[in-house]
Symmetry: C2
Subunit: 524 residues, 2 copies
Amino acid sequence: MNGAQSLIQTLVDGGVEVCFTNPGTSEMHFVAALDTVPGMRAVLGLFEGVCTGAADGYARMAGKPAVTLLHLGPGLGNGLANLHNARRAHSPVVNIVGEHATYHIQHDAPLTSDIQAIAGAVSGWVHTCRDADSVAADAAAALAAALQPPGQVATLILPADCAWSPVGRATPPPPVPRPAPRPVDPATVDQVARILRSGQRTALLLTGPAVTDPGLELAARIGQATGARVIGNRANARLQRGAGRPVLPRLPYPPPQARAMLADLQHLILVGAQPPVAFFAYPDQPSLLAPPECTLHTLATLEEDILAALDALAEAVAAPAYTGPRYPAERPPLPTGELTLEKVWRSVAALMPEEAIVSDESITSGRNAEAWTLGAPPHDWLSVMGGAIGQGLPVATGAAVACPDRRVLAMEADGSAMYTLQALWTQAREGLDVVTVLFNNGAYAILQGELRRVGAEAGGPKAGALLDLTAPAIDWVALARGMGVPASRPTSAEEFNRVLSAALAEPGPHLIEVQVKGPGSGSG
Amino acid sequence: MNGAQSLIQTLVDGGVEVCFTNPGTSEMHFVAALDTVPGMRAVLGLFEGVCTGAADGYARMAGKPAVTLLHLGPGLGNGLANLHNARRAHSPVVNIVGEHATYHIQHDAPLTSDIQAIAGAVSGWVHTCRDADSVAADAAAALAAALQPPGQVATLILPADCAWSPVGRATPPPPVPRPAPRPVDPATVDQVARILRSGQRTALLLTGPAVTDPGLELAARIGQATGARVIGNRANARLQRGAGRPVLPRLPYPPPQARAMLADLQHLILVGAQPPVAFFAYPDQPSLLAPPECTLHTLATLEEDILAALDALAEAVAAPAYTGPRYPAERPPLPTGELTLEKVWRSVAALMPEEAIVSDESITSGRNAEAWTLGAPPHDWLSVMGGAIGQGLPVATGAAVACPDRRVLAMEADGSAMYTLQALWTQAREGLDVVTVLFNNGAYAILQGELRRVGAEAGGPKAGALLDLTAPAIDWVALARGMGVPASRPTSAEEFNRVLSAALAEPGPHLIEVQVKGPGSGSG
């Protein structure tokens, strides 16, 4: 057994089943070992951002890590933006980054770079293997680090000679510890309960496990029993919504609207959430979204046992069963006539299968998605967590690998899709059941709004041109077909309904391009 | 005037004419300032690796920096692989990386990351602006750093409030120093001259300015006068070759062949080159390519005045004019019949315009390009310097921006092209005269060889599948057309000649897909 084999064996023993990879020469022994150590599925991406985004999507849905296998510093660099998103999603991910043989690094060959420095910017744990004998223990440590609640990115750098050298000591790989989330101090629960009973204007702000089934129900009960409002973060790693679940208003993206939503609060109880902050700073606008007179309290962080804390809190305020508003179970009628943004979303709500997974990177085209998808059946909603666009297609890819029995819908903006369009090829290769709805507005429409919002003197021809994607127009049907994904461009609501129905009924990926027209209807 | 305007003014005053950008919200004031400060052309890339690779290609041909404008840590991350290549090419590049407003960073908004750490891995100079008043001086310092011989990547991190705040002191931006390369110690030249006159087996290994016109001629004279062999590095930032220039054998990529080329040497004189080292380590093979008994000497590093050193050396050995072999001036005949790799290259040599620029990322499909392009007119040859594939199309893009009067040929492998295919859109948008010859062998063919070379137990179905790009096959004609680039897929040599002639005669970009068949004829 060599180091690469002991690495894969340790990962498989630790429950890892999938490797998303774009390998190079320094990873060839890992690649070869995939055939000699059973149990690891290898999924090829033609760009590393596809691999790291897929690992994020996989982790969110599988609740456990996939590994990525990346080629030295530049390969890691190509995966960095989606690792940033994974870090913000607290997705457990184990990166295996190949490195030159230990004795080769001193010679500064062309691909040599400071991998530790690059990895450190997105990883909670970074380590470089020293020899083949230590690879198994290193792999177990990497996996344990990734699983540390609430989950993080762990990067193990694997010099080529550590992969190819034989393992001397045949000790079994150490077991991977799976630490539980920390319990919340009962005193904290009591204090939050006192605030909730005070009659002052209070809201709970939820994310993490709090926006999945048991958490949503508990928070809704607490809100109902105490009069507190219950609000969700705008972006969540995995939000459960749809028919029958408690309605959850979410913080809007534009800071003025977000501030308005929180304006009258005296207390904001953070349940997995950080103090709400504007995505960007703007001249003469505050960074923090809650008013200065609002006191922030933390019920539980993501490192803590959020569901147990909510359960204790519900008990402390003697909350009965929830009887308030829930998402309707009746699907909307199929839209007809001219195809508009609203009709696309209503058609999706009308046709989405039960337990679909929505990877949402629709940006401006999705601003009203909450209202326009009422009536959709129960589904999971995955958002961009780190603000680095180009994750929607990769996350959809990974979610489909994690959940082969569920349908994935990638609701995707043209500008965002362009960063990692290579994901379509992986979807075709693996026959993944992903339907991409591509909102093509020919613009970085979100930036058209942001240019105004930052107060910049907008409207000049150069600035305008930099936010325009119509010269030349991008033909997404051609791009999808070029990567082996069937694609179409419906022009009426009826045609969209028909194409979406067919795509959802057939196995494998499809792309549906929607031409979005008019100001304010754009996607980012 | 605000910070962004003073930044652009300083860069324009320092000679910068082009900004390759993929901006976001934090860069909106820079974008707006492009319309109020004249003199900066803005070129949009839909992925940051396009921007950074284009800046590299621009710098190699223009001999001065372009700037990139990137969106926080993730935008820089997306550009990292081609910045790694630019670093290895010693291309002067100034990155402007947007950052949250100084007072916003503490709130850890979703896009917050350690930009300095990411930048440090690829930059020789990194600085974060403190306030609007210091932006002009910071920009001048960044530009001076980029121009420090032999050129390097300089990264200036620009918090949004430093861009949008008014500049208080209306001092003119400081002048940008342009340091000259260091002179070489005459004693070094004398010592090398003594070795060359010793009669021992000696070679000169050239790169940098030594492989451009005056350097090639000087080195050829020295070799002729002393019996020393003259060898070029395999990869060079800018190699001048073609009709009438001295023939320059180059170090092969496979280490056994490279070692064989150097096997009998007693002395190796480095002229801009580093001690030659294998690209990767392989089990039981040495890292260094020169034999242990060969002594290495440095005539001049890239930081030093290589041309002056060669001139002094030619004088020291009393080298007369060069009368040895030169690349032939007679173009090869147009090939006919079945289209093969060799015929593609011979057609390129037959049809390439004078002073064409070749961006070579053909990998395995280009292994014999040296022999197959004999008869080509004078041209420049740009190689991947850092080994991070995905630079060929971006470098071609930047070279075309730098040299609008010259034709650019991107000789490109399918696997490599896929990382940064978005460059095609920028070529279409800017109407750049780039003809891409896309070698589609449906494989990471170089890795098929590397899997054998590292000694890995190859041949397993999983390993084989990870190097195969045929399921599904990628339709490059569809991908190019999807981004607005006319494309074709000729199937005979005659058709290739016709298509290439037409593409070279028409303005704007074209892509010609060549289906490469058979083992050993692959591209990486």
